[in-house]
């Protein structure tokens, strides 16, 4: 599935957050979005997922959805957004309960999601009993249970420590290896973008405008190879060059506000 954003603007009261965004997330690609704090990345994602109403502009989806898809555009959240009073398996059940599925299929989807994320043994645990990485795996398993056509990820690894982040990046790589689910991936972290994305969108400081789109040519599964390092370093320099000035200015604006 692809997502087409046309001439998108968004204001919160008087605060202009996004301005003149034209962007297409292509079928099967992982598009990373980076930009300074407060430039409207989360807002952009919220609009793309239909939980924030844009001030103006249009958002459309097009293309095929996988078999058995219950929620084409599905979020994975920074803070995991798990119900603390439901066990791991019941958190997955939550997003299936309102669909008329046969009980067997519901169970099968939950089990498949849990097994895939290595959570089967923890299915009865409450979220508070899990580590941050495990909780985000529940978030991913929950998203997979609805067989999404597009994932919207809002800094999914920001709340995690470096090692856990590394492990979860491997999980995401495996996911995009297998399903090629289209994804819009917001991050602060250049390394995440360089490991996971096909293209990287750089937004300016608030009001967020599209500054540049950088393509990473190297195939995702070869980015740890020595041969890939020269190209990746070049892309990284380019991205850092683009965001450095913006980030500095944004930082000062926050201090002055």
């Amino acid at each position: 599935m692809r997502l087409i954003i046309k001439d998108l603007c968004h204001r919160y009261d008087d605060l202009v957050v996004l301005e003149g965004i034209d962007l297409t997330v292509r079928e099967g690609e992982v598009l990373a979005v980076i930009g300074p704090s407060g430039c409207g990345k989360s807002t952009l994602l919220g609009i793309a997922g239909g939980i924030v109403a844009p001030t103006s502009g249009t958002i459309e989806t097009a293309g095929a959805v996988p078999d058995g898809c219950l929620n084409p555009v599905t979020f994975i959240f920074q803070d995991f957004a798990l119900l603390p009073w439901r066990s791991v398996e019941d958190n997955l059940a939550l997003v299936l309960e309102h669909h008329p599925l046969p009980a067997a299929e519901r169970r099968e989807r939950i089990e498949a999601g849990l097994r895939r994320m290595g959570l089967w043994d923890f299915r009865k645990a409450l979220p508070k009993q899990l580590s941050g990485g495990m909780r985000q795996r529940v978030g991913i398993a929950r998203a997979l249970a609805v067989r999404p056509a597009m994932l919207l990820l809002d800094e999914p690894l920001s709340a995690l420590d470096a090692q856990t982040r590394e492990l979860l990046m491997e999980d995401f790589l495996a996911l995009w290896q297998r399903e090629r689910t289209t994804a819009l991936y917001v991050t602060h972290n250049l390394d995440e973008a360089l490991r996971l994305a096909d293209r990287v969108v750089v937004l300016s400081r608030r009001p967020g405008r599209l500054r540049e789109i950088v393509t990473i040519e190297e195939p995702r599964d070869q980015r740890l190879q020595p041969s890939a390092q020269a190209h990746l370093a070049e892309v990284r320099d380019r991205l850092w060059h683009l965001i450095r000035a913006e980030a500095q200015l944004a930082d000062r604006e926050i201090a002055n506000a």
Partner: protein, 269 residues
């Protein structure tokens, strides 16, 4: 290689300085304090320091309580009070939760409700009992109304602020997975608000207890409040204190029930 530019100091043990300012449990301290208090109270009477008419010793209070149990009057009074608390509290709680929910999720209900609740909340509800007696008569309904009214407002406030404290991100999550409105209410808002609602129960239960005693003192044949008042009028201070003891045990029992309820329902916290 050692840095010779720094002065050489002999090794010293690190002195512990992290003591104090932590809470430790002293299991027996509270029991001991109780025992001492009761012993002192008992002995003031034994040594004639205080007239038993004004402050009867614990043994006399216990005896009076024993007599009330034996002749069945305790149960008669307790039953009347429990029934009033039960009915009044349930009425106030059901209505209060309904209104609190409406105010928690509907902005019109909130706009109308908040000023009204703020205006009515500070009224000492017992002051309305005479009015309720005029409306409903001296019997039970006026007492139910007083207790229900007293419970209603704190329940409204507890319920809608509990709903406000349900994390928005969970609601957004549910919306993003396409959960219908009623499911979001039932599966996210209600359980998310439960801790706040149960905390409200604690407050309203103690309000109900105060109001039942006050209402029974104004006009009732049976009930612990009526019993305490009568005992006072007859200067039967041992019976009076026995009544007070029953009331505090009742408060304790209600608190325990609520604690069990919280532990059961809020295991996830």
């Amino acid at each position: 290689m050692p840095d010779t530019s720094l002065p050489v100091t002999p090794a010293q043990p690190v002195r512990f300085r992290g003591g104090g300012f932590t809470v430790r449990t002293h299991r027996w301290a509270a029991l001991l304090a109780f025992a001492v208090l009761i012993a002192v109270w008992e002995s003031t009477n034994r040594f004639g320091l205080v007239s038993p008419l004004f402050l009867p010793p614990p043994s006399a209070v216990a005896k009076a309580l024993g007599a009330m149990v034996a002749d069945g009057s305790l149960w008669q009074h307790l039953k009347a009070s429990l029934m009033r608390i039960g009915v009044g509290w349930a009425m106030g709680t059901v209505c209060g939760m309904a209104v609190g929910f409406a105010m928690g999720i509907g902005s019109v209900a909130r706009a109308v409700g908040v000023p009204l609740v703020s205006a009515f909340f500070p009224i000492p509800k017992i002051a309305l009992l005479p009015l309720f007696i005029l409306w409903f008569g001296i019997g039970e309904p006026s007492k139910f109304a007083t207790i229900g009214f007293g419970v209603f407002f704190p329940t409204v406030i507890a319920t809608y602020s509990a709903i406000d404290s349900v994390p928005r991100n969970l609601i957004r999550m549910a919306q993003s997975f396409g959960l219908p409105w009623a499911s979001i209410l039932r599966k996210i808002v209600l359980p998310g608000a439960l801790p706040g609602i149960l905390a409200g129960f604690r407050i309203t239960a103690s309000i109900a207890l105060i109001l039942v005693v006050a209402a029974e003192m104004i006009g009732a044949e049976y009930g612990i409040g009526a019993f305490v008042l009568t005992a006072g009028n007859l200067m039967l201070t041992d019976q009076l204190l026995a009544g007070v003891l029953v009331l505090s045990l009742l408060g304790l029992a209600i608190g325990t029930v609520l604690s069990i309820l919280e532990r059961r329902l809020l295991k996830w916290r």
